[in-house]
């Protein structure tokens, strides 16, 4: 146990996800030894993220104003909405440069074991966006795991009767992997989604 400010910092750092007591201690002593300007910059960044960052009122991505950068961009088309679980998934898809439509962040996936049902996600807000009639395609880009697939199934059941094109991201073999190491679920999905060359 240390005294005063250093112990307070270790305690606070130890509450962060993935930071154990030893890591918290190491980071705290790194901060103590660091240049005061760097520490002030870190403290200012922490303040700014809480003061400025909020959720976009349209798509629920992180934003610094009422709408996020993607929802404000007039060059993006409104005919397709890509549904993702978390804001970090928006960044992952944006890195591909393949999608020029809009996003909708659900805030998680349906997971009955954790008590997360459809009412805990931004599904009602998604339905409101789809009812405008502008959207022609809904791309379901939830995670390719059981919860993500079940969420996609639930959304498809809701949205299909509206006459929209509902698509799901393909699943299959990762680029750079060996076929012999693929598990049977992944390989089965790759077979299901095979395409004509």
């Amino acid at each position: 146990m240390y005294e005063g400010a250093i112990q307070d910092l270790i305690d606070e750092l130890g509450r962060l996800p993935g930071v154990g007591p030893k890591s918290a201690q190491r980071i705290a002593f790194h901060v103590l030894a660091a240049d005061p300007t760097d520490v002030k910059r870190l403290a200012a960044a922490l303040h700014r993220v809480k003061d400025l960052v909020r959720f976009c009122t349209t798509c629920f991505n992180v934003a610094e104003s009422e709408q996020c950068r993607i929802c404000r961009d007039p060059r993006r088309h409104d005919e397709a909405i890509c549904v993702v679980e978390e804001p970090k998934d928006v960044v992952a898809i944006e890195k591909t440069g393949e999608f020029r439509g809009r996003y909708h962040v659900l805030g998680g996936a349906i997971n009955p074991l954790e008590g997360v049902g459809p009412d805990n996600l931004k599904i009602r807000e998604l339905m409101a966006r789809l009812s405008s009639g502008e959207v022609k395609e809904l791309i379901l880009a939830t995670d390719p795991n059981t919860e993500g697939e079940a969420t996609a199934t639930y959304l498809a059941l809701l949205v299909k009767p509206m006459g929209l094109r509902v698509t799901r991201l393909a699943s299959g073999l990762p680029v750079g992997g060996d076929l012999e190491y693929a598990d049977e679920v992944t390989l089965g999905r790759a077979f299901e989604g095979r395409r004509v060359l």
Binding site: G115, T146, T153, A156, R168, P174, D183, E184
Partner: protein
């Protein structure tokens, strides 16, 4: 060196192998998961599966919920082991996640199995067989998901020693059927023992509950929707009374929608 019970010891520490049903997965750190499994010989086990959230994981797909898998564990220092190898025996999750009512029913089955095995590594072969059988029945799609779930819950309660009295009075054991049903009293009650606030389920509801607990699927499959709803309500109330804490997944079980796979694959 291999021992008779499937354990292997060597320079890496004790390894043991068992077949198991995956009950729950939880994220851990950057790319790991904590997997809760109900094993055939070792009861409920929590183990770390390292790197399974990476797209390059060699066995992440086999450790999705509801799968029946053959697992090799490396014993940890505490109660948390790690998973070193996995082979799929029957990966039910793949079929269940494309059918929302079956997915929610499977979640309730998994949560019940976890709650009925409070002690880690305490073998419970009957619960394992019951859980595996229920997931297999859900995946086979021969019966409605809600019926499979209620049959599982009734039999799981019997395993735990809380089977509701259905054919006799729960208080005085007078042979029935009786019209009253009281969860605190332990099931159906005769007119003499009936406590205030007891429910009045119709005779077909109690007949359905008997059929589900005994595996009479001809009666169960032909039961009307209203009777199924009433039976589900009684089963859920009875279970949660004895568990003392509500199941999170039970209110989210979808008992309304017909099963139909709708997600299309773009070619």
């Amino acid at each position: 060196m291999e021992r008779h019970n499937g354990t292997v010891t060597g320079f890496r520490g004790r390894l043991f192998r068992d077949d198991a049903v995956v009950l729950r997965v939880q994220k851990l750190g950057e790319s790991d998961r904590i997997i809760t499994l109900l094993t055939r010989r070792h009861g409920r086990i929590r183990a770390v599966a390292r790197g399974v959230r990476r797209t390059t994981s060699r066995f992440g797909g086999r450790l999705e919920p509801f799968g029946h898998v053959d697992v090799q564990f490396a014993e940890g220092r505490g109660s948390l082991h790690s998973i070193s190898q996995v082979e799929g025996i029957a990966l039910f999750g793949g079929g269940l996640m494309g059918d929302y009512p079956r997915y929610t029913a499977a979640s309730a089955i998994a949560e019940t199995a976890e709650r009925l095995s409070p002690e880690e590594q305490e073998p419970s072969l009957r619960l394992f067989q019951l859980t595996l059988g229920a997931l297999k029945a859900l995946a086979a799609r021969e019966h409605e998901a809600a019926l499979v779930l209620d049959a599982y819950l009734l039999r799981a309660m019997a395993y735990a020693g809380w089977a509701p009295a259905l054919r006799e009075c729960a208080v005085c054991a007078t042979p029935g059927p009786h019209r009253g049903f009281s969860v605190p009293a332990g099931g159906s009650v005769c007119s003499d023992c009936r406590p205030p606030g007891a429910a009045n389920p119709g005779p077909p509801t109690l007949a359905l509950m008997c059929a589900l607990s005994e595996g009479d699927w001809t009666v169960a499959d032909s039961s009307p929707v209203a009777v199924r709803r009433e039976a589900s309500g009684l089963v859920a109330a009875h279970l949660q009374w004895h568990l003392e804490r509500a199941l999170r997944s039970l209110p989210l079980v979808d008992r309304s929608r017909p099963a139909e796979p709708v997600v299309q694959t773009e070619r």
